[in-house]
């Protein structure tokens, strides 16, 4: 999962980013509303975590700008404003979820995973592909009922494939969703990751579609 984290507090922002990375997310952290609006409109993210009180441009305006530009990425508003009027206006501006500070990281991650899963069109929290299963709320993969140990990059690639099982995912698309904005990306490293995944879950589950990308198979 690649997350756009918009948080202007210098202490809190890096801490949330670290906590999300611990949960195997790729995180781009911005502290300014204008930058946030720009990144959300130009980069591909699985979800955004958006603070409301921001310099440059407030969070609700950022959200409206994304929606006006046709960006339908799931947005979780993370704010100190706990009044119901704030929540209502957040949802009216197009938020998908709302979490009040202080919060538990587990809850933030769980809610983000649920948002991403629903955005991919899955109503149920348990996703299956042959012998492979993903428990979306915890982010745990199992193979034949046994927990699967994955690195962060492996997990990001596999969950992207899993969320859009049966669909060819373009290499560029996959690269965007796996690496953070400032990381050195090259498609060779993607092939290395896919190769390692094939060793862990069996080569047949991940198909290479020549010239395009990868596809997860299995009903």
């Amino acid at each position: 999962m690649r997350i756009l984290l918009v948080e202007d507090d210098r202490d809190l922002g890096p801490r949330i980013a670290r906590a999300l990375r611990d949960e195997r997310c790729a995180v781009d952290l911005v502290a300014d509303g204008v930058d946030a609006a720009h990144l959300g409109e130009t980069e591909a993210y699985d979800a955004a975590v958006l603070d409301l009180g921001l310099p440059g441009m407030d969070g609700v305006s950022v959200l409206r700008a994304w929606r006006a530009a046709g960006r339908d990425l799931p947005v979780l508003v993370l704010t100190a404003r706990d009044g119901w009027s704030d929540k209502v206006s957040g949802f009216k501006a197009g938020a998908d979820d709302y979490l009040v500070k202080p919060f538990r990281v587990e809850e933030l991650v769980m809610r983000l995973r649920a948002l991403v899963r629903r955005a991919a069109g899955h109503a149920q929290p348990l996703l299956r592909a042959g012998p492979l299963s993903l428990d979306a709320p915890t982010g745990t993969f199992e193979l034949d009922g046994l927990p699967l140990k994955l690195t962060a990059l492996e997990w990001r690639v596999l969950s992207q494939l899993m969320l859009r099982k049966g669909v060819v995912i373009e290499r560029l698309d996959l690269l965007e969703k796996v690496y953070e904005g400032d990381a050195d990306t090259d498609s060779n490293s993607l092939e290395v990751i896919v190769g390692r995944l094939r060793k862990k879950i069996g080569a047949a589950l991940i198909e290479t579609v020549r010239g395009r990308g990868y596809r997860l198979v299995g009903e």
Binding site: D9, D11, L12, R15, I16, A19, G53, A80, R81, D82, G83, W84, S85, K87, V88, G90, F91, K92, A95, D96, D97, Y98, V100, K101, P102, F103, R104, V105, A114, R118
Partner: protein
């Protein structure tokens, strides 16, 4: 005020009455004096230049001298005393005759002087005395009449006068009463409007007032505006403090998430902030608002539905209901109830509302496990420590209950027909 005015009127009328009675008395006494002086003139006509008294002449005028039953006269001169045998005893004249002495002549006199005295019968007597200087010595002429002659006409005039004055007093007092009532009516209306501001029914008084009250009305409106601004400022200050604390607390919570003991303390700090934020909101309540129920409910249903994806929330609120509750307070109140219901519901939550006279009756029903009857009362009691039950039923219900109470409504908990919790509350209709 009315009493003071009535007393003042009575005093003024009493003074006027006394002045009129005095004036009347003086006029009557002057009339009497003129008659006594005429008698003295008759007596003087019987005294010649030498001081001899012409008795024959006295006999001729006698009829004119005895004007009434107790009228008396006397002539006192060198030839002795003539006149009524029972002439009253007169006091010594206290005051010397006024004015310059009349010119000397054959019958030079110093002008008549008033004398007072008492008759043998005991009645008071008024007399006039004229001294005529003659070569043989002074001749003193005196005519006396009973005081009752003076008193009777005064008394006769005084009673009708007093009656008239009393009637004037009554009319004046009644007019005063009417004037006070009519004149104070705008003040009474103003008082009612100020009471309405305090009660939350309006936010300013009418400025279309009589000229004397217009500055007062303007001042009252400025005061009400200041009051409203102070309410908003208090609310804002409390919210700002709480919000400012939340972000560093969130950072701390992230640092301490692997240390359960410290994390528990963070949780406690958070609950305390939420508690006081809710309290500050409730204390800064604004009863003058009017909020349309349906749009508020729709926004909240969408928000709560997004936060609790498993719960289906049905809305049964007529579009024309308006409650006299501040929009934020209404959001807070219904948001907490819906959130509670959705959190505990198995699948369904219903929000219903109907107009009930001056009130709007609202009902939030869920199909969850409900609350045991023994617990219900304690949970919903206003003023229950909000942090006692954490994220359970207690927090939201206590906030809602407190807000409802502040708006004069009532909140009660019941068992829903399906077994879940039914929260019923009344809010003032706008």
């Amino acid at each position: 005020m009315l009493i003071v005015s009535a007393l003042a009127t009575a005093v003024a009328l009493a003074l006027a009455g006394a002045a009129m009675a005095g004036l009347l008395g003086r006029l009557v006494v002057e009339g009497l004096d003129r008659r006594l002086d005429a008698e003295l003139a008759l007596l003087a006509s019987a005294v010649d230049a030498d001081g001899h008294v012409d008795r024959a002449r006295l006999e001729r005028v006698r009829g004119a001298l005895d004007a009434g039953p107790e009228w008396r006269w006397r002539v006192d001169g060198p030839d002795g005393t003539l006149g009524s045998a029972d002439f009253p005893r007169l006091d010594h004249p206290l005051d010397p005759p006024l004015g310059p002495a009349p010119p000397a002549g054959p019958l030079a006199s110093r002008g008549p002087r008033p004398r007072e005295g008492a008759a043998e019968s005991g009645g008071e007597v008024h007399a006039r005395e004229l001294v005529i200087a003659t070569p043989r010595g002074d001749v003193t002429l005196t005519a006396a009449a009973p005081r009752s002659v003076v008193r009777r006409p005064i008394e006769g005039a005084l009673w009708p006068l007093l009656g008239a004055l009393a009637a004037v007093a009554a009319v004046l007092t009644a007019a005063l009463l009417v004037q006070l009532r009519v004149g104070l009516a705008p003040l009474r209306r103003l008082r009612d409007q100020v009471a309405a501001i305090r009660g939350g029914a309006r936010d300013r008084v009418e400025e279309d007032q009589p000229a004397e009250l217009r500055p007062l009305a303007a001042e009252l409106n400025a005061l009400a505006a200041d009051n409203a601004a102070a309410l908003a400022a208090a609310r804002g200050a409390a919210a700002n403090l709480a919000h400012a604390l939340k972000t560093p607390v969130a950072a701390l919570a992230l640092d301490l998430r692997d240390r359960p003991e410290q994390a528990a303390q963070i949780e406690r700090i958070d609950r305390t902030i939420r508690h006081h934020l809710a309290r500050a909101r409730a204390a800064a309540i604004d009863r003058r608002a009017a909020t349309s129920l349906r749009p508020a409910a729709e926004g909240l249903v969408a928000a709560v539905g997004a936060l609790h994806r498993d719960a289906r929330i049905a809305l049964d609120v007529p579009a024309d209901l308006v409650v006299a509750v501040d929009a934020q307070d209404l959001d807070e109140l219904l948001g907490n109830l819906l959130d509670n219901a959705a959190r505990h519901a198995a699948a369904r939550v219903t929000l219903g509302a109907v107009r009930d006279g001056r009130w709007v009756a609202v009902e939030v029903v869920d199909d969850g496990p409900g609350i045991p009857a023994t617990e219900r009362e304690r949970v919903a009691r206003p003023g229950t420590r909000l942090d006692e039950r954490g994220d359970g039923h207690g927090f939201g219900l206590a906030i809602a209950s407190e807000l409802v109470a502040l708006y004069g409504g009532a909140l009660s908990l019941d068992q829903a027909s399906g077994g879940g919790l039914a929260v019923r509350l009344t809010l003032p209709a706008a």
